[in-house]
Symmetry: C2
Subunit: 280 residues, 2 copies
């Protein structure tokens, strides 16, 4: 692969708050990505959201002016399905999640259990995800499966998901509910900032980590993950983080959640539009 004359060889872009906000593209996003691709750089898009299939996220990007295929998108459903396929082929899963995630797990060869409370029914993993149809009955199913010995893993740790005009509960609420009834901590959260996600992205790019730039709006997922993987990182200010929230090396904002370490970005830019000007 030929190195770009300037800039990085590979770029990993967060979606919500970085490339678009809801259904609105961040101004300059399409042009910035077109320029990077024209230079020969590789690009991949990364989201923690398990609400749509990768194909649907690729279609959305294409519709908004950034041509993309299914293979250009990595979401936490895909990382979860890939993790289970490799480590627990054919496992019995009780999943709190929406249909696209269930479909992804089914396609990965998992056996989906509808009701772990049925006598004699055994479950290997409870998988918790963002689920807008979460309810008491699903919580009871998760509790009974874990009491019978199932392991407890989750797609993503985000507390909330940004939507037009605010935020709504994300997977963090489901994890909290299951931890609250079982007294057990979730064992593994595969989505950002876990290395399972960043390694999937780096493999997809086919570029060494130190020649990649991670671009995102969240210090506690995008940036910390890039830091740990040995990538350079760029924080954009079009999402949840404001310039005054950015920690100087060695410091933490006063209200930072002690359970979720913050990353320290190598670059802070106003928006994705400024990314083509960054170089290693």
């Amino acid at each position: 692969m030929q190195h770009s004359p300037r800039g990085f060889d590979g770029y990993v872009f967060d979606l919500d708050g970085t490339v678009y906000l809801g259904d609105r593209l961040i101004p300059g996003a399409a042009e910035a990505i077109a320029e990077l691709r024209q230079r020969g750089a590789r690009t991949v898009f990364l989201t923690n959201k398990p609400l749509e299939s990768r194909k649907a996220y690729a279609a959305k990007l294409t519709r908004l002016g950034i041509p993309a295929e299914e293979k250009d998108v990595i979401n936490s459903s895909a990382v979860m399905a890939d993790y289970l396929r490799r480590t627990a082929p054919g496992a019995r899963i009780y999943c709190i999640g929406e249909p696209p995630l269930l479909q992804e797990l089914r396609e990965a060869g998992m056996e989906l259990i509808a009701d772990p409370r049925v006598p004699g029914c055994e479950v290997d993993f409870v998988v918790a995800a963002f689920d807008r149809w979460f309810d008491y009955e699903k919580l009871d199913c998760a509790l009974q499966a874990i009491l019978k010995g199932a392991r407890f893993i989750a797609t993503n740790g985000d507390r909330t998901c940004p939507v037009e005009g605010g935020v709504i509960p994300d997977c963090g609420g489901i994890i909290g509910a299951i931890e609250g009834v079982t007294g057990k901590k979730v064992e593994l959260v595969v989505g950002k900032p876990h290395e399972l996600t960043v390694q999937t992205a780096i493999r997809r790019l086919g570029v060494p980590a130190d020649r990649c730039l991670m671009v995102g709006d969240r210090l506690e997922t995008d940036i910390v993950m890039g830091n740990r993987a040995g990538m350079k990182t760029a924080l954009v200010l079009t999402g949840v983080t404001r310039r005054e929230d950015v920690p100087r090396p060695g410091t933490r904002p006063a209200d930072a959640d002690p359970g979720r370490p913050l990353g320290v970005p190598d670059f802070v830019v106003d928006s994705i539009r400024d990314v083509p000007a960054l170089h290693p």
Copy 2:
């Protein structure tokens, strides 16, 4: 008040696992309580459950052979209603809970808010309780109310509730879900083992704490609460705790939840039947 010739002057009894299991009286419970009352001792019943009204718990006890009136029962709904009446009269409440709790709060003069997401709608307290109709929409309502500044309190911290053949999710799951989406810890849990509950019981008995015996099956609620209040405590083995779980002073079982300190009972007895034989 005349002191009993032997035994204590006041007795506080936990219900589930101590006096009855589901709809079955613990053998000897009715006789034991009748004997204590005949000696002139006062008795009160204490449960964390907000699922029924105090009147309903009294009716159940009476039906099972232990005559009881509404005033003989304290549950976490009553303690919550009493707390809010005293500290925040007329407060606006978003409550995740079942109808008997909503009714108790309404009777205490609280304004119940159906949907805190309505623009301009303000909420003073989110009250979380055991609610078998808990769902994503209620979680979203709690999140939005807390984002707008509501305080977050709960009736009880129990992870699960024992039922015929097992356990089902209790208020701990709802607290966990709200903590998971807001990143904020619940401010106050009024039920056992909080002193608001034991003080209510002691006032109801009209007997000094050191002349009372707290009888229950849970180290982390009944016994720790009695310890802190300066009462003597008796652990019964008819509920969730087995004899080998009982810590010696200064020790803790290996799997004890570090967030929930365990009490150390003054007496360990097989069942409530043995309580009349205990003395200070």
